[in-house]
């Protein structure tokens, strides 16, 4: 082999060149050039991203990439966020930690999303990786503050501990005191998900005070407003800060102390937290507003006039998360003040109310689409929409890359014409040529899927609910959307035909979720038998699918490609469709 390569660079040179190539896609391409490049590349790959923890086994990863320092793993499907995936489905990280403990003693970073992490896993991490630096647990669950104490105590060089949106069994706030006095390396600490009323505040203050490189700090609700100033004064270098409760009786000295503390943070660009806001304290932020690029007020139940006042002080805002209390008037103000806006998320304040409680309609979104030329990413909850508005938005903002619209009442038609919203969403996929993520809602026929299949060539993730008329809809998407990686569908009349006819497509995607649709158990079995590289999981909490005729539809179906074969950690209500003879359970 070496004779053939006599004219190529020595390995060390190639390694050096490869070290400049960071993206996974490029790395994968490099490894396909020739065998020796593949060999060199796999020894120097330091970062691995595994979008579905069941697509590959830990051993396979370790065998191919022996020197990994950083790993990112995702577990449950996205719809788990909305309680559609039953507890106990899976996504356990322990087997991964156990294998990596032996194979990657120099592992530095673990980033997990929607995985089940036990205290045992955390303790194993703390024990096994001597140079451990980064732990990000995004929407994870299964662990308590005991596990966090182990991490705090053992990881001498810990730089990041980020628990964003995880469910933590909050046994005691004293875990923070387990950070040794010698720990000064923290760069990022996010404990906003913790509920404990007794966060050891003195431990927190001391920790913050001795970490000069701390750039991001997100507190939890237990930290009251009067304590913020003390924390900020210890960390004026912060770039990203999350408050706790931002409510207290208005006292002039507390206010001026707070305002002074904020103004001393010259690098502060991003704010979040703001549970329970007393509007009178918002002006304390005015000194930093001109520098703010990111503002998360999505828990703040403040009304439109206060929001307008605040937002009008933030001309550099790029990212805004807010409740629908902002109303159309607030969004119109946003459109005129914040020309750098790239991302907008508007959440419902009263999601289960039948009647609108605020004056937020499609007009607000239209205004932002018109006024904010850099707008790329939208998540919008509202109660009415029209094709005309969607067409306008599409024509105004062809640079949209993410468009997620949730009209709260399922199957709501265009409120002006009472037609389906096919044409409106069709305009979005047609005009927004770089659209990568789309969530549909409202009254929709198969036509919207036809448009998506025709125009959505860059679409990678599609979320569908209460839409479509027949299998043709699903067929359009599976056959037309060339870049599709994740498809999640609930309550649509899609059945066997489109799925079976596009079986090969499923191997090119990460995963497909279908719940409350019309896919029969027989079709699931057939798919499982014929497609060995797919794991076809049938999920049913009420009764086994084989207790009914094969033609009956399954409750929930999760299909994902895998080179690891079927998994064996399934709970009793999940069945993997396997060989012709038996169903694995």
């Amino acid at each position: 082999m070496q004779k053939k390569m006599a004219y190529s660079f020595p390995d060390e040179v190639l390694e050096q060149v490869f070290s400049f190539i960071q993206s996974d896609k490029d790395r994968n391409a490099v490894s396909l050039v020739c065998k020796s490049w593949d060999e060199i590349e796999r020894w120097c790959r330091r970062k691995v991203f595994i979008g579905n923890c069941y697509a590959v086994s830990p051993r396979m990863v370790i065998r191919r990439f022996p020197e990994v320092r950083s790993i990112k793993l995702k577990g449950k499907p996205h719809f788990a966020d909305f309680n559609l995936v039953p507890d106990g489905w899976g996504g356990y990280v322990l087997p991964w930690i156990a294998e990596m403990a032996g194979a990657y003693p120099w592992l530095e970073e673990i980033r997990l999303k929607r995985m089940v992490v036990t205290d045992e896993s955390l303790e194993l991490i703390a024990k096994s990786f001597k140079n451990f630096k980064v732990l990000v647990l995004f929407s994870c669950e299964g662990f308590s503050t005991d596990g966090l104490a182990a991490i705090a105590a053992s990881c001498k060089n810990l730089r990041e501990l980020d628990l964003r949106e995880s469910e933590v069994d909050d046994l005691s706030g004293h875990w923070l005191a387990h950070f040794p006095e010698t720990c000064t390396s923290l760069v990022s600490l996010n404990i906003s998900c913790l509920r404990s009323d007794e966060v050891s505040f003195s431990a927190l203050e001391r920790l913050v005070g001795r970490c000069p490189n701390l750039r991001s700090l997100r507190l939890n609700r237990a930290v009251t407003l009067d304590k913020i100033a003390n924390i900020l004064r210890r960390a004026p270098q912060l770039v990203d800060f999350g408050t706790g409760y931002y409510a207290a009786e208005l006292q002039p000295d507390v206010f001026s102390n707070l305002a002074g503390a904020f103004s001393s943070c010259k690098e502060l660009k991003s704010l979040s937290g703001f549970w329970d806001v007393v509007p009178a304290y918002l002006p304390a932020l005015y000194s930093i507003c001109p520098r703010l690029t990111s503002l998360n007020l999505s828990y703040a139940t403040i009304q439109s006039p206060d929001l307008i006042k605040l937002v009008s002080h933030c001309p550099r805002l790029q990212r805004l998360l807010v409740l629908d209390y902002v109303e159309d008037s607030g969004l119109e103000e946003l459109a005129s003040s914040c020309k750098d806006l790239q991302e907008l998320r508007v959440f419902p304040s009263d999601p289960f109310g039948a009647e609108p409680n605020v004056s937020l309609t499609e007009q607000g979104l239209v205004a932002v689409s018109l006024g904010c030329p850099k707008l790329r990413s939208v998540l919008y909850f509202c109660r009415r929409m029209s094709n005309a508005a969607l067409v306008t938005i599409a024509q105004n903002r062809p640079n949209l890359t993410r468009f997620r619209l949730c009209i709260i009442e399922p199957k709501t038609p265009d409120y002006l014409t009472l037609e389906p919203l096919d044409v409106g969403f069709g305009a979005i996929v047609e005009h927004c040529k770089d659209l990568r993520r789309l969530s549909l809602s409202g009254l929709l026929t198969d036509h919207v899927f036809e448009y998506s299949g025709t125009y959505g060539k860059k679409l990678e993730m599609l979320s569908v609910a209460f839409a479509g008329d027949s299998d043709l809809g699903l067929h359009h998407v599976l056959s037309g959307c060339e870049s599709l990686r994740k498809l999640e569908i609930r309550d649509c009349p899609f059945g066997d035909k489109a799925l079976l006819a596009n079986a090969a497509k499923l191997e090119t995607m990460r995963s497909l979720w279908m719940s409350s649709c019309a896919v029969s158990f027989g079709a699931c079995k057939l798919l499982g038998q014929k497609m060995p590289k797919l794991n076809v999981e049938v999920i049913d909490e009420t009764e086994p699918p084989d207790s009914r005729p094969e033609s009956c539809p399954v409750d929930k179906l999760y299909i994902y490609r895998s080179v690891a074969g079927p998994r064996f950690d399934m709970p009793p209500f999940v069945w993997t469709m396997g060989e012709a003879v038996r169903i694995l359970h």
Partner: protein, 279 residues
């Protein structure tokens, strides 16, 4: 590769069903050429007229797509054509015939699980704000329970409470509104964890479930291997069954199935005795 692909695809379509794909004069221009080899029928067999109408609509939409000014008519224009066809699509394809013997559970008009698609911690913000505005000086105690994993979660009409069992790492949730007595709860809990314990013991077993399960009984009478306890709204750990059912339901925050042998280690408090020492 293409012929191999389509062969594989056609293999998966049962022999007795046929897709009939009628190509109109423009041909189907989107997607790969594999579709031309596929035969697709839009509706159940016999509805030929519907197909022509639908495809006619499809082809006219395609030709519209080529004329930029005609693409998506501005709001003032008449949508009647599209509306009529859309309505007929909906009418004819909405109700698929249901195969016999299937459970009808999904047709019940229950509150929709997981809709609107927001995370649990965003669900009760409006009510939390009401409480906050009423007493802005009060410190934030356990007022908001939207993110407390231990607090009961009301999804629509249910009252979901987290339940953990010794030896089972992952907890589950039970809907207390589904039961009206301690007996029913006890049976349900027993069934719930029998299955989980069995799966844990031998996860690759593929024999019938019943052989592996050991029934968990006697959680309420102190005689079984396990005992059911709960944590109330004051953080006290109590034996399930001490208070009347409705009082239990209104004060329970989370449940736990303990090994009966561990009970003496943990001091339980009852409402009569007042505060206890928590484990």
């Amino acid at each position: 590769m293409e012929s191999g692909c389509s062969k594989k695809l056609l293999d998966l379509i049962p022999q007795e069903k046929k897709w009939g794909f009628i190509e109109n004069q423009n041909g189907i221009s989107h997607g790969s050429s594999e579709e031309k080899k596929l035969e697709l029928k839009l509706g159940p067999p016999g509805e030929e007229d519907e197909l022509l109408v639908s495809f006619g609509y499809f082809s006219s939409m395609k030709s519209n797509a080529k004329h930029a000014h005609n693409k998506f008519p501005p709001p003032q224009e008449d949508h009647r054509g599209g509306a009529v066809l859309a309505a007929s699509w909906a009418k004819n394809h909405h109700h698929q015939p249901k195969p016999p013997n299937c459970s009808q559970k999904r047709t019940a008009p229950a509150p929709v699980v997981g809709w609107p698609p927001i995370r649990s911690f965003r669900k009760n913000l409006a009510t939390t704000s009401k409480l906050a505005s009423e007493s802005p000086t009060s410190l934030p105690h356990k007022v908001a329970n939207e993110r407390n994993p231990a607090a009961p979660e009301t999804r629509g009409k249910g009252l979901f409470v987290k339940i953990n069992m010794d030896g089972v790492p992952i907890g589950r949730k039970v809907d207390l509104k589904a039961y009206d007595s301690y007996e029913k709860l006890s049976t349900a809990v027993g069934e719930l964890f029998s299955g989980l314990l069995a799966a844990q013991r031998d996860p690759s077993a593929d024999g019938p479930k019943q052989e592996e399960e050991k029934a968990i009984t006697g959680v309420l009478d102190g005689n079984g291997e396990y005992t059911l306890v709960y944590e109330d709204n004051e953080g006290d750990r109590m034996l399930v069954g001490d208070v009347p059912w409705h009082m239990f339901v209104s004060t329970v925050k989370r449940l736990r199935v303990l090994k009966s042998s561990e009970l003496s280690v943990i001091n339980l408090g009852s409402s009569k005795k007042g505060k206890r020492v928590q484990n």
